[in-house]
């Protein structure tokens, strides 16, 4: 098994991407991985914000049109993720944080599919209707798992004590930002309602 993984890690392709002085190697694959993340998480996050009622003015059904780009982001991430993994298979497979990241991605994808099914499946509901509690549950779960996946990805290169300290700091910062965001969103939505009245 390890011999097989060795052969991948030391293949001509992996060696080129890892060792080439050209910016078209490792850094470009990393940049493409970031593009994929931005489209996958950013656009599916927009659907989640609508489902959760944070941006209630957005009609839900047209957001279905984002699905091809969300899928493209996923596949771009899958391919570049496999390439990046092949560059350091040994180190990554011995890194518990890598498994946390993979598990978070898998759970986020499951939550995304469930959210889509419940949010877009209610075909008879009017476009401005609030999403069902099940759709909202999966939207919140998806955002949580995406956040964990991004955090896990950033922390792969750090030591365990730094990972734990950072995870605590991120949790505190996210809670504080969510409190501020909740206040601002409520104020903005109230202003929209007042303008309509």
């Amino acid at each position: 098994m390890w011999e097989f993984l060795d052969s991948i890690e030391n293949s001509a392709f992996s060696s080129y991407v890892r060792d080439t002085p050209s910016v078209l190697g490792y850094s470009t694959v990393l940049a493409l991985h970031t593009f994929g993340m931005a489209f996958l998480v950013g656009l599916s996050g927009v659907i989640a914000l609508r489902v959760l009622g944070v941006v209630p003015q957005l009609p839900l059904k047209p957001l279905k049109g984002l699905q091809p780009l969300i899928a493209a982001g996923f596949w771009l991430n899958a391919v570049t993720g496999l390439i990046l993994t092949s560059l350091a298979i040994h180190a990554l497979l011995r890194n518990w944080d890598f498994y946390v990241k993979l598990a978070a991605i898998a759970l986020a994808i499951v939550a995304l599919q469930k959210m889509r099914r419940y949010a877009f499946g209610e075909t008879s509901a009017p476009d401005d209707a609030a999403a069902s509690p099940r759709a909202r549950f999966w939207a919140a779960a998806m955002l949580l798992f995406w956040g964990l996946a991004v955090l896990g990805g950033r922390l792969t290169a750090y030591a365990t004590n730094i990972r734990i300290e950072t995870a605590r700091a991120v949790l505190v910062a996210v809670v504080l930002l969510l409190i501020v965001a909740r206040y601002l969103v409520r104020r903005a939505n109230r202003a929209v309602v007042e303008v309509r009245v």
């Binding site: 910016v23 950013g42 991004v150």
Partner: protein, 169 residues
């Protein structure tokens, strides 16, 4: 001028903070990524709608996402400032020297400026008002599409050059 910039750009307190609290740098990286996600989710979606993606969205409602994109940009600016001002915590170089010598960082700044000018063009040409009238299924004017495509190109360029910065550190 150089002395002024060297002094102004170097924030020993930021470098000291990053060196003392080992979670500060990865926290900044994580929020930089959250910022990128918000930027593409907000500004990117608006650009995509003008280009004809999710055409059923009235443009005025897609505009409701722009504050989220702006929030993402602010997160990236704040954390990006921390990376530059606190660079000495990670590499033995002053922020001034890094800005002066790193072509990828310079290109990143240039593309942020281009994205800003592009946004200015959107408002100065009256496209912001023209697209606000677009309902579900309506096509955006050609100029609005060009500006939207340029916006996506510049922001993806900003992300790309940002990823290349460590190559020249």
């Amino acid at each position: 001028m150089e002395t002024f910039l060297r002094t102004w750009l170097e924030w020993p307190s930021v470098a000291a903070f990053v060196a003392r609290y080992t979670w500060a740098w990865p926290l900044g990286e994580t929020f930089h990524f959250f910022g990128i996600i918000l930027l593409i989710g907000g500004v990117g979606l608006f650009d995509l709608r003008l280009l004809g993606v999710a055409k059923g969205l009235p443009v005025a409602t897609a505009r409701r996402l722009l504050p989220w994109g702006v929030t993402g940009f602010i997160l990236c600016v704040v954390t990006g400032f921390m990376f530059v001002a606190g660079v000495r915590a990670n590499v033995p170089a002053s922020p001034y020297d890094v800005i002066k010598s790193n072509p990828w960082l310079q290109l990143k700044f240039l593309f942020i400026a281009f994205a800003g000018l592009n946004l200015l063009t959107f408002y100065l040409t009256g496209m912001d008002r023209a697209v606000d009238e677009l309902g579900a299924g309506d096509d955006a004017p050609r100029l609005a599409k060009v500006i939207a495509a340029a916006s996506l190109f510049f922001w993806l360029g900003v992300i790309y050059f940002g990823r290349l910065i460590p190559e020249a550190l």
